[in-house]
Symmetry: C2
Subunit: 382 residues, 2 copies
C-alpha cells in the first residue's frame, strides 16, 4: 500500500451533544467566539440555544448571519473582515454545508489573507487556521468532518473546491436532535449527498482500508434507514442517518471523490442546484461508467446494496446500480436532467463538462473522465 | 444514543511512511526534538534512519534511549527532566508500546509537573502536552493511536492506566516495513494484543457505531492474516496486521476495554508479563463470562470469527469462542496460567484480582467483574 493519510476532527456525537459546544470552545482557548449561521437555523431556535450555552460559560460572541445556500466568495470576505475587526479568537458555525463552508472560508482568509480564489485546489493554505467547532444541522454535507470547503466564485459561476488538511476542524459536534427540525426534502437531499460521498469515496483511486470500511458501512445504513426516517421521522432512524453521514464524511475527506462530484460541482455552480438534487440524477449513470473501469470494487458496493452477490462481479455491480435506481425512484425525487433544466439550457452542458474535468474530484475517479464522457453521461440522463 | 466521543490522531500509514517524520515534526513547530526509543529498535537501525531524516530537515535532537519493557515511573521522570533541561520542543518516539508509553509519560510530566502517579486514572491531566509524533514498530499496542498510557509503579508493583484525550498524539506514523525486522514471537504477541483490544472494545458498555465498525473489522483481519504473516512473513500480510492494529486502536482508545485487560494490567504489573503472553490465557475465559452478560453482542463477534451464525445468539457466541481457542492453540502459545506461573505464585492471584477490579478497564466491561469472578476465571485457566 502506498502511503495514505487519515485525518478527522474530534467528533462529539449524540443526542444533546450541542450542550458541549461551550466547553469545546473554552478548551480551544475561546474568549470571544465568531459565530456563523443562517436565517433558517436562527428561526428554528438553534442560534439562541447556542448563544445561551456560550453565555453560561462566560464566553462572548459576535454573530455573523450572512450565509446563503451555495455560499459566495463575497460572503466569506465580509465574514473574515468582521472576524478580524472584532478581535474574535475561535470560530463556531452551526448549520448545513453552506454555513460550515462559509466558516471555513472565513477561517482561511482570517489567518492567511488574500482572496478566497487564491486557495482553490489542493493544499494551497499555508498558515494554521483559527480553532473551529463545527455543528452540523444536516446529515449529509460532511463539512463538519472534512478537509473540503466549497465556495462559489460568483463572477466565474464556478463552485471552487478548496481541499487541505488544515480545513479539518478541531471539533465536530453532531446532535441528531437537531435533525428533527428539518423538512423531509432536506433529509432526503442530505442522505443522498452522504450516499454519493460513500460511493464515490469507495471507488476513489486513493481509498484506503480506513476509508473503505466507512464508505461501505455508510451505504448500508443509508439504504436501510432513509425510508423509515422519512416515514416515521423516528429519532432512531434520524440518528442512524447521522452515523452514516459521519462515516461517509470520514471516508471522502480522506479518499476524496470522483467524476460525479466533479460534474455536480460544475453543474451546481452554473445553475445554483444543490448537491442533493443533482446526485439522484447523475450518480447511477457515473456508477455504470465506473463499473466498466473497476468492476470488482463496484461489485463490493453491489453486494452491500443487494446484501448478496448476484453472479460475477459485473453482474453484481450492475444489479446493485439497478436496485439503487429503484431506490431513488421510491424517494420521489427527480432522476432526469430535463426535470431540472429547460431545453434551452442544454447548450450549457458542454462548457459545464469542460469545467468539470478540471475539478479536483475528477482526478481520483477510477479513471479521470474526459469532457466527452461527462457530456455523454449528461445526455444519457437528460 | 448517549453522547459519545471519537478522537484519533492524524494517521500516516504505509510502506516508507517513516520518511514523513521530519516534515511532521516541522509542521508541529520542531526546532529540537526529544527522541525516545529503546536498544532493540536502535540495534535494528531505525533510530539512525530517523535521525538521518531529522538531519535532512535541519532539525536538532536529543536522544533518550532509556526505555525498558513495561516502562517504569523512574524512567518517565528522568526523561521529563532531560526534556526540560535540553530545551526540546517536540517529542518523537519510535518503538513498541513501551517506548511510546514512556514518551507519553514524559510529555505529561514535561508540561504538567509532579509525579506520574498523580495522573493515574481517567482525565487527570489538565495542561496541554508538547506536540508528539509516535512511530509504532509493532502492530499491537496501539499506543500511537490511543488516549492510554500504561506506566508501572515499581513500588506498588502495579501497571497504572493513565487515560485522557490529551494523550492522543498529534500524528501517528505506521510503517509496515518496520515490522519486517520483528521476530515471530513479537508478531504473534502484538497481533494477539490487537485482537484483545478489538474484542474487549466491542463488548465495552461505551462502544459506539464508530468504534464497533473498527473492532469487528480488526477481528476479521487478524484471524485472516496472522497465520500467513507467521508462515510467509509476506509484507502484504504484515501490512494487514498493521491495518487491523490501527483499527483496533481507534476502537479501544474511544470505547475503552474490559475485565480481561483489567486483569492483564494487574497480573502483568505483578509478574512483569507482557500483554501478548497474558491474552491467549485469559481472553476466551473472560469472553465466556461476558457471553452470559451480553449474548447478542458476543454473537456478533462469533459471526465474524465463524463467518456465519451457528444457531441462536448463545450458540453462535460460544462456537466463536471455541474457534478462537483453537486459533490460539495453533499459534503454539501458552494458554494456561500454570505454564507461566509456579504453584507457589498461585497465592498472589487473590490480591492481584482485588487490584484488578479497580482498574479503569473493568468499569466498561458488560458488567464490572467482582474480584471473586476474576479469581474464578484465573482458576478456570490455571
Amino acid at each position: 500500500m502506498d502511503v495514505t493519510k487519515f485525518a478527522i476532527p474530534e467528533v462529539i456525537f449524540g443526542r444533546g451533544s450541542i450542550n458541549h459546544a461551550g466547553q469545546c470552545a473554552l478548551r480551544l482557548g475561546a474568549k470571544k467566539v465568531f459565530l456563523v449561521s443562517d436565517s433558517g437555523i436562527e428561526e428554528a431556535g438553534w442560534v439562541d440555544k447556542l448563544t445561551d450555552i456560550l453565555k453560561s460559560e462566560g464566553i462572548e460572541w459576535v454573530y455573523y448571519p450572512g450565509v446563503t445556500s451555495n455560499p459566495r466568495d463575497s460572503e466569506v470576505e465580509l465574514g473574515a473582515e468582521l472576524y478580524r475587526k472584532n478581535g474574535t479568537d475561535v470560530i463556531i458555525a452551526i448549520g448545513g454545508g453552506s454555513a460550515l463552508d462559509t466558516a471555513k472560508g472565513i477561517a482561511i482568509l482570517a489567518s492567511n489573507g488574500g482572496r478566497i480564489q487564491d486557495y482553490e485546489g489542493a493544499n494551497r493554505v499555508n498558515r494554521p487556521l483559527p480553532p473551529m467547532v463545527l455543528i452540523t444541522t444536516t446529515a449529509g454535507s460532511g463539512s463538519d468532518i472534512s478537509q473540503f470547503c466549497i465556495i462559489t466564485d460568483v463572477q466565474r459561476g464556478v463552485k471552487m473546491s478548496i481541499i487541505t488538511r488544515t480545513l479539518v476542524p478541531n471539533i465536530s459536534i453532531v446532535d441528531p436532535l437537531i435533525l428533527r427540525t428539518k423538512s423531509e426534502t432536506l433529509i432526503i437531499h442530505s442522505a443522498v449527498d452522504a450516499l454519493a460521498h460513500a460511493i464515490e469515496s469507495y471507488m476513489s483511486t486513493i481509498s484506503s482500508p480506513f476509508t473503505e470500511m466507512h464508505s461501505l458501512k455508510a451505504i448500508d445504513i443509508i439504504l436501510e434507514s432513509l425510508p423509515s426516517a422519512i416515514k416515521t421521522r423516528s429519532l432512531d432512524a434520524l440518528e442512524q442517518l447521522s452515523v452514516a453521514s459521519v462515516s461517509a464524511s470520514m471516508a471522502f475527506s480522506n479518499a476524496s471523490l470522483g467524476a460525479e462530484h466533479a460534474l455536480a460541482h460544475s453543474l451546481g455552480g452554473y445553475f445554483d442546484m444543490p448537491h442533493g438534487v443533482v446526485h439522484p440524477i447523475l450518480l447511477t449513470a457515473v456508477m455504470r461508467h465506473n463499473a466498466r473501469l473497476a468492476p470488482e470494487k463496484m461489485a463490493h458496493i453491489g453486494k452491500v446494496i443487494l446484501k448478496k452477490s448476484q453472479g460475477n462481479n459485473e453482474e453484481t455491480a450492475l444489479a446493485g446500480i439497478m436496485k439503487l435506481e429503484n431506490f431513488f425512484a421510491t424517494l420521489g425525487v427527480h432522476t432526469k436532467l430535463h426535470q431540472e433544466l429547460s431545453e434551452k439550457q442544454k447548450q450549457y452542458l458542454e462548457p459545464i463538462c469542460k469545467v468539470a474535468v478540471n475539478d479536483a474530484c475528477n482526478l481520483t475517479n477510477p479513471q479521470p473522465a474526459t469532457w466527452n464522457e461527462l457530456h455523454n453521461i449528461c445526455m444519457e440522463v437528460w
